[in-house]
Amino acid sequence: MLKYLATRLALTIPTFLAVLTLVFFVVRVIPGDPATAALGDYASQEAVTALRERMGLNDPLYIQYFRFLADLARGDLGKSMITGKSISEMVRQVLPYTLELTLSAIFVGALLGVPLGIYTARNSNTTIDYIGRITSLAGLSVPAFYLGILIMLLFAIKLKLLPAVGGGDLNDFKSNITHLALPALTLGLIMTASVTRLTRSAMLNVLKEDYVRTARAKGLPERAVVFRHALRAALVPIVSIIGIWAANLIADSVLTETVFARPGLGKMLVGAIMQRDYTALQSVMVIYTGFVVVINLITDLVYSLVDPRITH
């Protein structure tokens, strides 16, 4: 296990490095001069040249690249070209909002999706199963921002139960949780659709297996058959879909944060693109992809925990 952990970790490093390199070069080929973008179209030539010099844009590309990597290694994300604020500081302010949103959405998705999937699998080809399948396919088809708007219309505008927009105060539990509820429900329901579908098909496959019949034949209570024998084996694809969704949800938070006007990484990303803030764009991309690489790593490690058949 330790050896596997070491190899898997070692494999993560080149992937992350490749991703970083891609982000660096993609941001460099964005048309337009960053210095001109920062100073505006009417800036004097001298001011632009001076800023380019200060930002290190006149250095050869490979020097810029190694400086980018060295800064990252020290945890320095640079300064925003538009506001001049430290990007690390900006990220520190918004990251908790995105993290709490993503984590609570995963929680909602797994908590609703897995039981629903088991239930529909055990009642396959009944009316309930049929309704469940159509509903979960609809859940896969609805764009996150539209579901967000529907939920906002219902709970915030019609029923006036919860606040419609904003992120709330992180230090005030009540304000935080009421602002979190609707966006988390939005993303959570979309994930529920996927998890239900996959849990259903995984359970259907496993319930047909001989050992499940054996377990029933030896007189085990149905609950033990389903949860101890069948679910354990179905857990591998379920874990993998939850892993995939964790990465998707981080990206989909861009949309929910826009709909609910919540501060967060996604909002920062869209802002950086709209204002052509290249340093901020580069940093946010690095953080997003870093998350995805780490989530993939965790998913792989959880595999071997839930399925003892996977040996390394």
Partner: protein, 308 residues
């Protein structure tokens, strides 16, 4: 076309009875039929948005049946008016007919959906075929690039490519195509690996067929079926990504109607005119659902476990 000695036994040409069984599998699946019907309706609406005129008494200009109003025509006095007999889904904040805009918006969604899948599919299949057949260093390089591209969630990747290319419909098609290509590459790669091990490939190689010929004549037709299924599922995704990007504000430039940007315009009037966002959203939901249902049905055909 001359007959070539390498045109020997190929499983591509499925027996008629087998084909009929596949068709039966599809047509027995009620949800797949629903998807097919919805898809056809949506395609017809997009194609004939400004055709099929309603006959009117002489002297009046005939209006198109599907979209009774010009999607760009503004009626400033009645802006944000609620749905009524004249305007099925009400007017937006510029006083434009929402139903007519949805009808024309179908063109943008379908065009982006289908073209980006065509681009992504072509790129991905070429990468997957080359990697799967040539193997070795080529395979390693291509598949590692695919791994890196897959590390980006599709929306983030789409945003990144659009940041480079700038917004607009053609850039969006290209961006979504690039986003989709690694998935196609991965499936094409594994499909190629399994087809490659067949004896007819070895037979072709043994009588001296060139690599390009083997890929073109023996491998490509055999992985095409899988790719078509993948294409119908990813068209649904492409349409959803297009809506997402339009909603963020990076899509088709205004005033061209696109569903995502229509919803975006409506978000500032959710309190007093929710219909401005609600109806275009339903259009996206139904369209994506239709392609998903269709793709699900097609996938069941190819799943050997269900064919027994």
């Amino acid at each position: 076309m001359s007959l070539d000695s390498t045109d020997i036994v190929e499983p591509t040409f499925r027996l008629r009875s087998q084909r009929r069984r596949l068709a039966n599998t599809f047509f027995r699946n009620r949800t797949a039929i629903l998807g097919l019907i919805l898809t056809i309706i949506i395609l017809l609406v997009a194609f004939f948005a400004d055709d099929w005129f309603v006959a009117l008494p002489q002297g009046k200009t005939p209006t198109p049946l599907l979209a009774p109003y010009d999607p760009l025509l503004q009626d400033a006095r009645n802006r944000l008016s609620a749905p009524d007999d004249d305007h099925l889904m009400g007017l937006d904040s510029y006083g434009r007919d929402i139903w007519s805009r949805i009808v024309f918006g179908a063109r943008v969604s379908l065009m982006v959906g289908v073209s980006s899948v065509a681009i992504g599919g072509t790129l991905g299949v070429i990468m997957g075929l080359l990697a799967g057949y040539l193997g070795g260093a080529v395979e390693n390089t291509i598949m590692r690039v695919v791994d890196v591209l897959m590390a980006f969630p599709s929306l983030i990747m789409g945003l990144m490519v659009l940041a480079v290319l700038g917004s607009g419909i053609f850039n969006m098609i290209l961006a979504i195509g690039i986003v989709l290509s690694p998935t196609f590459a991965r499936v094409a790669h594994s499909a190629t690996l399994s087809v490659k091990s067949n004896e007819f490939v070895e037979a072709a190689r043994s009588i001296g067929a060139s690599r390009i010929r083997i890929i073109r004549v023996h491998l490509f037709p055999n992985i095409l079926g899988d790719m078509v299924v993948l294409a119908s599922i990813w068209t649904a995704t492409a349409i959803r990504v297009e809506a997402n990007l339009s909603f963020i504000g990076l899509g088709v430039s205004p005033p061209t109607p696109a569903w995502g940007s229509m919803i975006r315009d409506g978000t500032s009037h959710l309190f007093d005119a929710p219909w401005e966002s609600l109806y275009p959203g339903m259009a996206i939901l139904i369209t994506v659902l239709a392609f998903n249902l269709l793709g699900d049905g097609l996938r069941d055909i190819l799943d050997p476990k269900l064919q027994q």
